[in-house]
Amino acid sequence: DTAVSQTPKYLVTQMGNDKSIKCEQNLGHDTMYWYKQDSKKFLKIMFSYNNKELIINETVPNRFSPKSPDKAHLNLHINSLELGDSAVYFCASSQDRQTDTQYFGPGTRLTVL
């Protein structure tokens, strides 16, 4: 009965590869988010989707492309991975774009070698 789930939990890959991280929420929420947490634990928003529509797109390289096939899923595809992409990526969801409380997934630790 996991609320927000992500796969994989760990991802180790070589520079230049393309990889995807998947996120699903079973809370019936309309809004989903992707955050990046760096080595200093700083959390920064990357993207937000509301009912499959992109509503937040922070200054993120366009090698990062979110995709929302339906409102319960928000996947993150990363092209041409770089060393600096190594981080923990968190998916989150909220009831809707007005509701403030966000619920986070367990995170995906991406290591680029």
Binding site: V4, T31, S39, K40, K41, F42, L43, K44, I45, S48, I55, I56, F90, A92, R97, D100, T101, Q102, Y103, F104, G105, P106, G107
Partner: protein, 112 residues
């Protein structure tokens, strides 16, 4: 006591004592504040939130205090337990803005 580690401020507290974690925010337009707890290897977990029309809110063993005059937020944990060891984040949001802005985390270490 409190010390500043290499990356995160760290609060070491004896089991059973009360903990206070502080957070300063800069946006005077922020009207919603939230505390998250992040245990090692896990995602941030909601603890408690407060809106700007309140200055105090209590949960189970936790209390959040908001001082809008000095733009300060604090989280008090009563009778700290080993399971409270984690990194704690405050976050703020202003009305109409979808973005939660997270503060720097505070590491709490509970000494048994």
């Amino acid at each position: 006591g409190e010390s500043v580690g290499l990356h995160l401020p760290t609060l070491s507290v004896q089991e059973g004592d009360n903990s206070i974690i502080n957070c300063a925010y800069s946006n005077s337009a922020s009207d919603y504040f939230i505390w998250y707890k992040q245990e090692s290897g896990k995602g941030p977990q909601f603890i408690i939130d407060i809106r700007s029309n309140m200055d105090k809110r209590q949960g189970q063993r936790v209390t959040v205090l908001l001082n809008k005059t000095v733009k300060h937020l604090s989280l008090q944990i009563a009778a700290t337990q080993p399971g409270d060891s984690a990194v704690y984040f405050c976050a703020e949001k202003s009305h109409g803005n979808n973005r939660l802005a997270f503060g720097k985390g505070n590491q709490v270490v509970v000494i048994p």
